[in-house]
Amino acid sequence: MSYTSREAFFAFRRSPLLTALSILTIAFALYTLSVFGLVWLNIERVLADVEERVEVVAYLEDGAEPGDTSVLVREVAAYPEVDSIAYVSKDAALERARTDLSEYSELYSDLEENPLPASIEIALKPGYRRSADVEDVARRVARFPFVEEIKYGEEWVEKLDFLQNLSLFLGVVVGGIFAGIAFVSIGATINMVMISRSEEIEIMKMVGAATGFIARPFVIEGFTKGVLGAVLALALLTATFETLQQRVLTLEFYAPIQLVLGVVLGGCLGAIASLLSLRRHLRSW
């Protein structure tokens, strides 16, 4: 067996507990990150759906002159954010209410006076459907004197936006904490191995083994721990996902390529942690 392959798994045998701790913390780091990532992904999907339907509706005062209305339509249609605009007259609104809410059609059938206002429905271009843009358009439309009320899905959009940012934030913070612990425990493993292998490493330095050669088994070991951690995280993630899927609703999962990248990321995390703590030892060579 070559030196590198013989040495690479020395720590696994020498200190299984420390090794297990390293793997577990990497697993938790990646699991946390991936769960919050999944939340982010699914909110993103819902947001995309919601956005499709985002529109600003301006209800007009009953007294609005047809001339005023056409000025409004023309000006708003010229906003760069606006995709299309539709005028719904009082009559049309009533008609729509009758068909949409057929159960209540009686309610509308014997009205002496049409209670529904005329409105303008403003659809926004893609890219302008996030809350800030929507609010901005709504604010400008509201300035027209005969606009009585403005409606748009403000709360929804804001809440989802907030949740999405929160999940990203939590994922990064909690995942980062676990990643930090993983780095420390990988570093501790390396220090331990360095001490118990100090004679051997001294001799290697003395006889002119390349620094990269001496570092290689440690880096391989770190990478392996990272990959094992990532696979563990993936198993946990899949279990979590299946449970949610059964209990709640159809959710979106990561694409296979993203999962592969995640496992590679775990490996790189382990290798980098090894390199960082090796650097201290490398410097004295």
Partner: protein, 228 residues
Amino acid sequence: MIRFEHVSKEYSRTGFALKNASFHLRKGEFMFVTGPSGAGKTTLVKMVTMEERPTSGVVRVSGYSSESIKRREIPLLRRRLGVVFQDFRLLRNRTARENVAFVLEVTGADTEQIKPRVLRTLAAVGLSDKADRLPSELSGGEQQRVAIARALVNDPFVLLADEPTGNLDHRIALDVLRVFKDINLRGMAVVFVTHDRSLLEHHPGARIIELDEGRIVGDSAAEEDPAA
């Protein structure tokens, strides 16, 4: 080969370990370095291996200079040196053969060549019949021979030995000195560090450098070759 040009080494806490030392070790030369404890003998060896850099002056070894050598070149330099220590520094859980082979394994030697080279080198130090023993199953003198074989196996141009007989009885020390002389006869330069002056008379032809408090106070070859 090896050239020291006005080399001084000052440690911030303990002062000068080496002061204005100049000498030139020629190809195939046998050189004793002697002097009392604390004279700077080990410091001199560490300068050659570039474990330590001079505070002033220049150390030149085999085409490398202490002024310009890059960190990643140091392993390459060390492959051209063979180093032996007082305390042998063998790996306890490996046999004589494995200890010697270790050098070749970790410096990327051709796998095919490892076995024959190891056996040839063990034969050169007279240990063919004990190749499969662990260090704990060998006498002090035999352990030092394994260490010498390990230093030799990569075909260095010089063998540096820092008190190689310091842990051995006088009689065994003479045996080990004879091994160094044999190797030197085959053309390899030797730097043999010892504070034991009685060894010097057993190799009358060798050059002797005497250190005291970091200064070279005697060099049997100085008249012929005023360094730098």
